[in-house]
Symmetry: C2
């Protein structure tokens, strides 16, 4: 618990393998996470092979963690296994739709995060790759994912070779609402984002990118509307193509 509160993302790893027994033990722990109807509508693809990591890397914009981590885990929504079981048992599955895409995502993400907590408790470091939903088609190809299987997140994992400072978070009151959602006044926004905006590294981002505000670094540089709209269309199309 203390360690959970002190955790940080690790992007640099020692050149040292993760024993198979340890990884399997962590995965078994992960699969103890809650799952709708005990259906376990997910699969995990384990990548250790350097060539396979090389194939995955472009999907993740060649972030160095993908090829440098001893293990890359791709957590997938999986309605294929359950549907195959149904068909083989004279039952007609109805899981090829949006509701089960979302339900599978919930299942897969609870397992992923349980894996991460357990791994960190063993001294391992992890990094999530948000790029997973940007280029799902490349991951589907690299990992040979069949219909009704869809990559929802990726975790790189290894023994830490860095000890970065913990990054900031919004104050609790920014995220927690008592009883009903209390929408934010302009004064709330100023107060809740003041600390983040005051940080030297964030001020530097603003200067480096020749922007007037930190928010503009997000909207104009890091996460633009244009990119998000193109990715939304791609994500939807690939979801459909995978049979959902």
């Amino acid at each position: 618990m203390g360690s959970l509160k002190q955790r940080k993302t690790i992007r640099k790893y020692q050149q040292k393998d993760i024993p198979v027994d340890l990884l399997n033990d962590l995965l078994e722990t992960a699969f103890r996470a809650s799952t709708v109807g005990n259906m376990q509508t997910y699969s995990v693809v384990v990548t250790r092979d350097a060539d396979r990591k090389g194939k995955l890397a472009p999907a993740h914009f060649n972030q160095p963690m993908v090829t440098a981590a001893p293990v890359v885990l791709t957590f997938c929504i999986d309605l294929n296994r359950f549907s195959k079981w149904c068909r083989q048992r004279q039952a007609e599955p109805g899981y090829n739709n949006f509701e089960w895409f979302v339900t599978g995502a919930v299942d897969a993400l609870l397992a992923a995060q349980t894996f991460c907590v357990a791994a960190e408790e063993k001294g391992l470091g992890i990094c999530y790759l948000g790029t997973t939903t940007y280029n799902p088609h490349l991951i589907i190809e690299a990992l040979e994912l069949p219909e009704l299987v869809f990559p929802i997140t990726t975790v790189t994992v290894g023994w830490p070779a860095e000890d970065p400072a913990q990054v900031d978070r919004l104050p609790l009151e920014a995220v927690v609402h008592e009883e009903v959602y209390h929408d934010y006044t302009p004064e709330d926004i100023d107060r809740l984002y003041a600390y983040k905006e005051s940080l030297p590294e964030n001020r530097q981002y603003v200067t480096e990118n020749s922007k007037a505000t930190l928010a503009q670094v997000f909207t104009d540089v890091r996460y633009t509307k244009k990119d998000a709209e193109a990715m939304s269309e791609l994500l939807w199309n690939i979801m459909k193509k995978q049979g959902f």
Copy 2:
């Protein structure tokens, strides 16, 4: 870690409150989970009030945990707060789309599961309510969620008043794939589901429901194609209505 592997869902709670300080500490821990671009695209609505629980209950098909648990947490995708910050800082946000719905869901679910792990470590028991995405419109109404805020999962939490047996999980080899996805042969399916199908409680479900197989209990009774298709359409429509 040992306890993580032994965990189980708790549906019955003592009539005993969760101190505000403890809950806040657990939420702070939860918000240490990874988040895309450190944007924390989620909010949590805390329900303690009996009337409010009564308003939430129908959305969860009146499962007794909603009104019996001292605390109900609704984890929401939230692009409202971040977009408001952008607009107030002369930045034009582009987060009202499907990509950010999914990204917000990932963020929210990692925080939710971190909360649950931390809560269980303190002796609390939790139950996820998959019903959250079945009736999102009822939850949006009950919790007064504005545009760009969407309930993705709900957790009931309290001090355990039961000690159920741990339920089964599929064998590890059913869920883990080495390097690429290895699709399942009919023999694989038979082997991987044999234990689940052999369990007395599952055999009883088959008999009780006058079905030929356990899979038919899922497809014909618990999670039908007809329900899933109706819920998919509703989920999509409410997602659009909330501005994504």
